[in-house]
Subunit: 214 residues, 2 copies
């Protein structure tokens, strides 16, 4: 068995458990027993639990970051007065998400859930890691949105993006428990794709709402 196998088994198990329970609520013993590896393997391969958390994020944010930048470049957004539509930006984002290779289905929901947790749980080290690792991509995203919503003030645009990210992260965070609650005659668990279908027009409408400044 090659080395990478243990590493990936740990990452796979950690990803699921973190998404399900949160970071502090998931112990290394849960992870290693789910992954069928020795407890010490985490500290051996990753160094610490915090480093493992960061590695979990790096595994999907790396590809996502690359896909977003590539997509923007392919469309020539931002050059020669080539201004993207807000829907197109969101679509690039969601479709980039779907392109990320995952070890299991429901990968998208898990990513979004993890991103929500990253913002919401006060893991200082994670925030620091994400900032210095993906600040460039985030700035690109902000720039694109700026191009497509020139009528907004910088402050209002910032907050609206914040609101939009909240809708996404929060929704994906609570899909499972909510569908359990409101299971009035609806048997099927809400599929993320279906939810995204509802999400996009909502976001577009909210982001392009008439400004309060006017």
């Amino acid at each position: 068995m090659p080395q990478s196998d243990t590493v990936d088994k740990i990452l796979d198990a950690a990803e699921l458990l973190f998404a399900e329970k949160g970071f502090s609520e998931t112990s290394l013993r849960m992870i290693t027993s789910k992954a069928n590896v020795n407890l010490a393997a985490v500290n051996y391969h990753f160094g610490s639990k915090n480093a493992l958390i960061q590695a979990v994020f790096g595994r999907f944010l790396g590809p996502l970051s690359r896909l977003m930048e590539q997509g923007s470049k392919d469309n020539n957004w931002g050059v020669d007065s080539n201004i993207p539509k807000l829907e197109d930006i969101l679509r690039l984002y969601t479709q980039s998400l779907l392109k990320i290779p995952t070890s299991h289905d429901n990968g998208v929901a898990i990513f979004m859930r993890l991103m929500g947790l990253a913002y919401t749980q006060s893991q200082g080290h994670l925030r620091k890691y994400l900032e210095q690792q993906y600040a460039k991509t985030f700035r690109l995203f902000m720039y694109l949105v700026k191009l497509s919503t020139p009528e907004l003030s910088a402050e209002e645009r910032f907050w609206r993006i914040q609101f939009a990210m909240g809708s996404i992260a929060f929704t994906m965070s609570s899909i499972q428990p909510l569908t359990e609650i409101f299971e009035n005659s609806k048997s099927a668990v809400a599929k993320p794709d279906k939810v995204v279908e509802y999400l996009v027009p909502y976001l577009v409408s909210g982001l392009t709402a008439k400004s309060v400044d006017e």
Copy 2:
């Protein structure tokens, strides 16, 4: 010193620490030392840490729940074809929030942050407690929104409310320099009232967006 004093001191300290760090990341020793009470006081007065968490929420949600139901009744919403406007519902909500008595300013921000954590951190006991305690109020809220947005399908309305709640909870959760806000109460960092000003038109626009079903 009367009994209630210790109880309130614990609740005050717990509220702040939970909002700042999360539930699992806050130990009873942090709470009791911040509250200047003995460690055993928590288990004596509340029974367990989980019960303390629930008590912190009860202190907020009890008044809020009453205010919402009273406000709806005062406006005769739902009777005699008296249909509320969506803005009015949101305004009732935000103003009810502001009316809740808090032991310190920034109470609203802390409350929203806690609600975000409640949804986001998978504290099973908390979710169960909130459900069986405030399901009635939540159902009223859903009903009012249904009255004001008759054009939406039940499913799409459900998800849009979800999106909206996400915006609120997430935004308040990630006003990052929270600690600064707590310490020097007149910090210039994002004031919740200002954010709400931006939030309302965004929510209205999103919630009333043209349906994807049409």
